[in-house]
């Protein structure tokens, strides 16, 4: 499957974009140690012409923010955090969801009506506001004293675990339904008749059908997690905590993580005069999401073409049959 994906242009584009972004981000911190160039003023011919924020034309490539920091450098530094956090959250979410989904699909699939009914309510709960309501007390400092209840590491771990946890039920239901559906097919009955136990059924019969669809769920979850992080950023809940400056008027992100940059743009960006403050982080984020969607689309297409890995094995066996008929046997009644 991976070999076939690598021949797909859209998958390759998305993959190269994400990998390139990650590698560039890591190299930048290794070589330049996350240095952010500052341009507090536009200087021409030794004279200060204009204070920050500077537009992309005045301070290439992407302009600067209110404090004169280069947006491009901040976005590049933030890339590895954002993608890394999204990967970690997806990993935690899917490992728990796979385990629960496996139990549900293999052993509790009988009760699917009740379980689906219980989780049906999740379809009417906006995830963003749910995450906000749970996370706000943890991530925001006390308004009066401006002191955090918890250390930065604690806040980061809490945010990762909570965002991972609120997606587990729906993901587990999806995975469980996938397993349960495959389990009701005819060849499973044959395997049972031949004496396979449930672990053997899962590993030998269900897994080959399950993995391709599971890879779809993985990318979908990754996209959802990234969008949720950006939404939280807009609601001024930044990863690692929100710093309030002054009397709660100005806020500022602890890390250069993208959701923080997006949220900041929404907080202090002047749409009319400084559009790049909006567009630099939002477009970078959009491109990353598009890259994942491109990959997703080609995974779907490859799956639709030949039904995933299972049929490939069959094809290989067919091609292993010798084609040189005449030398191997003769027709009896010719």
């Amino acid at each position: 499957m991976i070999r076939r994906l690598m021949k797909r242009p859209m998958f390759v584009i998305g993959f190269i974009f994400i990998c390139g972004l990650l590698v560039a981000s890591i190299l930048y911190s290794l070589i330049w140690h996350d240095h952010i160039p500052e341009n507090l003023f536009l200087i021409r011919n030794g004279q200060m012409v204009k204070p920050a924020p500077l537009s992309p034309l005045e301070a290439p490539p992407l302009g600067t923010d209110m404090r004169g920091n280069s947006l491009a450098a901040m976005l590049l530094i933030g890339a590895k955090f954002t993608l890394g956090i999204a990967f970690i959250i997806t990993l935690i979410r899917l490992s728990f969801a796979s385990f629960l989904g496996w139990i549900y699909g293999m052993y509790l699939y009988r009760f699917r009506r009740t379980i689906t009914g219980l989780l049906d309510g999740m379809h009417y709960i906006p995830v963003t506001i749910l995450a906000f309501v749970i996370l706000a007390p943890v991530l925001k400092p006390d308004i009066m004293t401006e002191i955090y209840m918890y250390s930065r590491t604690e806040r980061e771990i809490a945010e990762i675990i909570i965002i991972a946890a609120i997606g587990i039920p729906v993901a587990a239901l999806d995975i469980g339904n996938l397993i349960g559906e495959i389990k009701q097919r005819d060849f499973i009955t044959s395997a049972k008749v031949l004496g396979a136990n449930s672990l053997q059924i899962f590993w030998n019969e269900i897994r080959p059908h399950f993995i391709p669809k599971f890879s779809l769920i993985c990318i979908q979850q990754l996209i959802q997690v990234m969008i949720l992080l950006a939404h939280l950023g807009v609601l001024s809940l930044f990863f690692g905590g929100t710093i309030l400056q002054g009397r709660g008027s100005s806020i500022h992100s602890v890390s250069d993580e993208w959701s923080g940059l997006i949220g900041l743009a929404f907080q202090e960006g002047q749409a009319t005069t400084e559009p790049w403050l909006f567009f630099a982080p939002v477009i970078t984020f959009t491109l990353a999401i598009l890259a994942f969607s491109f990959m997703l689309e080609d995974v779907k297409k490859v799956m639709g073409e030949r039904g995933g890995t299972v049929q490939k094995k069959v094809r290989d066996k067919k091609s292993a049959v010798p084609t040189d008929k005449e030398t191997n046997f003769d027709f009896l009644n010719r």
């Binding site: 049906d120 709960i125 749970i134 939404h231 807009v234």
Partner: protein
């Protein structure tokens, strides 16, 4: 049938109650199950006496009903308008696409794919920017980008909210209609001389209703999150802003119940309608 439906409804309501009280589970970073279940019982009692619930606004207590109703109806108005508008847009798009030549059809589908993948934040930012640009160039303020003192903006948020689901519905319907087009009954209908319009709206639409409705659940789920950001960006005084300002388990749970109710009736109505129209029993 009725018993099964009511068991399902109660299960769903309990599920919502469990999620709605989740904020009480976290006392800072510690899990407190006693607090969680205590809060759940508390909310249950209070929901049964809705007249006595209060919420804080600028340090003073106000009754939740009717305080929450105005933002609620506003949000739902925008939400359903966007949902219906996007559906009609997708339907019209599907109809038009079948008259397009093959190469253009592929391009349109690719554009819809790109549109479907865009994050909502991007669309909202672009929208606001376009309105501002038009205002700067022509002095014509098409629509208020942000809510004024006493007026509720309607058309721009609806337009903004309906772009994503329109792409979702469109792509989904193209696949579903494409499947139906290969079936025998279409050939029969065509040979009898039925036009494309009659074919699509009378026969195909009826057959793709079930997959479209079950897909619409995913769209609704995604759209609710978009609504949160939309209300925040446009500064609308809707239900999501109300929750944002009062993030307590009680207000949150009541809001979730309020959001759930219209959808429950809508989906029940549609599954009855489908049973009447096609004779198929479906639970959506």
């Amino acid at each position: 049938m009725v018993i099964k439906q009511s068991v399902r409804l109660i299960a769903t309501l309990i599920g919502i109650l469990f999620v709605g009280c989740l904020p009480a589970l976290f006392r800072g970073l510690n899990l407190s199950f006693s607090n969680y279940f205590g809060q759940m019982g508390d909310v249950l009692v209070q929901v049964l006496h809705p007249g006595q619930i209060g919420f804080q606004y600028e340090g003073r207590m106000y009754p939740l009903f009717p305080g929450i109703l105005n933002p609620y109806f506003y949000s739902m108005k925008i939400f359903f308008a966007a949902l219906i508008f996007s559906f009609l847009l997708a339907l019209a798009g599907t109809y038009i696409t079948f008259f397009l030549p093959q190469w253009l059809r592929k391009t349109v589908l690719f554009l819809a794919f790109i549109g479907e993948s865009l994050p909502d934040i991007f669309i909202m930012v672009v929208f606001q920017m376009i309105i501002i640009l038009i205002y700067q160039k022509t002095g014509l303020l098409l629509l208020n980008t942000s809510e004024g003192f006493n007026q509720q903006v309607f058309f721009l948020p609806v337009l903004c909210l309906s772009i994503l689901p329109a792409c979702f519905f469109y792509r989904m319907m193209m696949v579903a209609v494409g499947e139906q087009m290969d079936m025998d009954y279409i050939t029969v209908a065509k040979s009898k001389g039925l036009g494309g319009c009659q074919l699509l709206f009378k026969h195909i639409l009826r057959n793709i209703a079930v997959p479209v409705l079950s897909y619409s659940k995913t769209v609704v789920w995604m759209l609710l999150s978009n609504l949160v950001i939309l209300e925040f960006v446009f500064g609308m005084q809707g239900l999501m802003t109300f929750i944002y300002n009062n993030p307590t388990p009680l207000v949150f749970t009541v809001s979730l119940f309020l959001i759930f109710i219209p959808f429950y009736f809508l989906y029940t109505f549609f599954s009855i309608l489908i049973r009447k129209l096609t004779g198929r029993r479906v639970v959506i």
